[in-house]
């Protein structure tokens, strides 16, 4: 319980920090009850001999639980038909959720039912009928809840947790416990009243809680959480120090200033934002409004207001960028970047370098006369569309010249020289698909990174370190098939990854093979 959910720094996946904080706080709340912690991992109610399904032979007997056989033919639970292992008091057997959970789910749906029927129905049909409808619907919901409870089960097999659910659309999800980011014990109001708890498992990727187990008895939830964390290899002993601080175990003392890398001058920032299409459109907008007023001679308030609103909307982005990136400072502190910026609210962010998934270099059209570029980075662990979109640590350099950009890229991705990336253009026949931008397109592999360039007007270079590669895809559309071209995607855990567009087919396969091989080598090494 009191063990920190934070894995050691060497195996901390990106995104672990934040999520672990969540797990930490909630677990702290749950571990305020030491009595419950002592409960052994034996289920509160051993499942009765359930389901008249012919039980598949348990392929991993309890004895060899820590390491299941590497190659289980027709595993402990066949996914279709026979999902159930033989019931036994062993904790690795398949277990049901708490029998009260359908009641809780039913109670939740009762509220929804009443809200759905609404007052107008009540006034139309009278109280008696209303009550009858509520009861019928609630009964239906409860029956569904019972059925779903009956068919939901979880099971710890070796070092993975399996969750089975569904009667018609059956789904069984296998979660390797190494992938576990945090386990939270959550207690909504109804669960608190009944002494139950919900167990939420956080896994990197989905961006949401992937596997809620609702509901378990509090002791069971605590025991399961402890067991999962132990199996996951996180520290499970009592670490009181780690609990007080929301810092992952092994983090060094906070607030070291670090070695300053670069500071963006506010003058450059202002000029750079004036060199945006929005700022260029401003005079035209003003002129348009003025000529309209002068020619019409009528000062309609609505026209003025709507024009101003439209212009404000257009100008919002550059203004916000100026405000956000004012006094932008970048520092390097050991293996993390410290970023400090902002005029109205000063924001300071820390990005561990091993969490950087991609670096994106952008040369906007109007900045080229100055030779300026912008650097952004993608960090894993921030689900797209998260509420604090503006707090995402994605700025690396709001504006800077080529040498500065090269210096920072070399700092973030050691051994990567921005100026001398070996980018090769796609074959000449790709001009049928990209008539203007064929010369700009390019893709190349170095020892550390995969780099892709694109964009005719706003030129972009995306750099993906091999060690951050999640998967490689080769996609060929109908037109590309006619031309013998294909696009190679390199997917990363945050952002869009990189796509080498319209490569020659043979070249695309070679790229994919090399990317796979490099990624594998990088994973082995790292």
């Amino acid at each position: 319980m009191s063990g920190s959910a934070a894995p050691g720094p060497d195996r901390t996946p990106p995104g672990a920090d934040e999520r672990d904080h969540v797990g930490e706080t909630v677990s702290g709340q749950a571990s305020g009850r030491p009595a419950e912690r002592a409960v052994p991992a034996v289920p509160a109610e051993a499942p009765p001999s359930d389901h008249a399904v012919p039980a598949a032979p348990e392929a991993s007997p309890p004895g060899e639980r820590p390491q299941p056989g590497p190659y289980q033919v027709a595993g402990p639970s066949t996914p279709v038909g026979g999902w159930i292992g033989p019931p036994s008091p062993d904790p690795s057997a398949r277990q049901r959720l708490h029998p009260l959970s359908p009641v809780l789910h039913g109670a939740k749906s009762l509220v929804v039912v009443i809200a759905g029927l609404s007052w107008s129905t009540l006034s139309r049909v009278g109280l008696g009928w209303f009550a009858a409808m509520v009861i019928v619907l609630a009964l239906g919901a409860s029956v569904l809840a019972v059925v779903s409870w009956y068919n939901t089960g979880y099971q710890v097999v070796g070092r993975e947790l399996r969750i089975h659910e569904g009667l018609l659309w059956r789904r069984s999800r296998a979660i390797p416990l190494e992938r576990l980011q945090a386990v939270e014990v959550v207690r909504p109001l109804l669960a608190q009243l009944t002494g139950l708890a919900e167990l939420r498992l956080e896994v990197v990727g989905g961006g949401k809680t992937e596997a809620p187990l609702a509901y378990l008895s509090l002791a069971e939830a605590a025991a399961l959480r402890q067991r999962l964390l132990t199996l996951a290899g996180h520290s499970s002993g009592t670490v009181p120090a780690a609990q007080a601080q929301p810092v992952p175990a092994g983090a060094e003392p906070p607030a070291q200033p670090g070695r300053p890398l670069h500071a963006v001058s506010n003058r450059d920032l202002l000029i750079s934002q004036l060199l945006t299409p929005q700022a260029f459109l401003l005079p035209f907008g003003v002129a348009f409004v003025a000529t309209q007023f002068l020619s019409e001679g009528s000062w309609s308030f609505i026209a003025v207001a709507s024009t101003l609103t439209a212009m404000a909307g257009v100008l919002l982005q550059p203004v916000r960028r100026v405000l956000d990136d004012w006094r932008f400072q970048l520092a390097r502190d050991d293996d993390r970047l410290r970023i400090r910026n902002g005029l109205l609210e000063t924001r300071s962010q820390t990005v561990p370098l091993h969490r950087v998934q991609t670096v994106r270099v952008t040369w906007p059209l109007l900045w080229r006369m100055k030779g300026w570029l912008r650097l952004r980075l993608e960090v894993a662990g921030y689900a797209a569309g998260e509420a604090d979109e503006r707090n995402r640590p994605d700025r690396l350099l709001p504006v800077g010249d080529q040498p500065t950009g090269e210096m920072i890229v070399a700092e973030v991705l050691p051994g990567v020289a921005l100026a001398s990336l070996p980018l090769r253009p796609p074959p000449a026949r790709a001009r049928w698909v990209n008539p203007l931008s064929r010369q700009v397109l390019g893709a190349g592999l170095t020892e550390q990174v995969f780099a892709v360039r694109s964009g005719l007007l706003t030129r972009q270079l995306t750099v993906v370190p091999y060690a951050r590669l999640q998967s490689v895809r080769v996609v060929q559309g109908p037109v590309q098939r006619l031309l013998g071209l294909a696009t190679v995607h390199a997917d990363t855990a945050g952002g869009a990854g990189a796509a080498a567009v319209d490569r020659d087919l043979t070249d695309a396969w070679a790229l994919a093979a090399e990317l796979t091989a490099w990624g594998q080598a990088a994973r082995r090494a790292g």
Partner: protein
Amino acid sequence: MSDDAPEVPPSAAPASPLEPWPDTVRWRSISTDLIWVELLRLAAGVAVVAAVLGVGWALTGSWPFGLALGAVVLFALWRVVTIVRAVRAWGYAEREDDLLVRHGLLVRRLSIVPYSRMQFVDVSAGPLERAFDLATVQLHTAAAASDARVPGLRPAEASRLRDRLTTLGEDRAEGL
């Protein structure tokens, strides 16, 4: 760069866009029973639309309904052909370190997903799939774009694949 790559890809040009590296990869195809599942799904959808159009035609007697009905039938016929071909084209291969999944006819896709990048594995089966004794295995990585879904597997094969994926994922597990 390729001269010091850890694993030099086979130099032979791939024979077909769907079959890269034919000498190193042994593709497995999925069960052709999936054709029936997909055809039944199509039939259900088409039946509803056709019934609506047919009733409309019978009641009003206006010709656009008949035209639409014909278009629906043509579309259904075309889909039958593509379904049969698409299911035949779907394939997967387990290599030492990664899972390869290829699918698609109009847009052809090949995904290469390393086992060590696996976050979790889903095995699912809808009622129609279960009627034909099939299941779907889906591999999830931390990247939302990763696309490794293998439908139309026999339950035994599905659980074998699931177990193999999780075991390999654990063996080769690292963070991100």
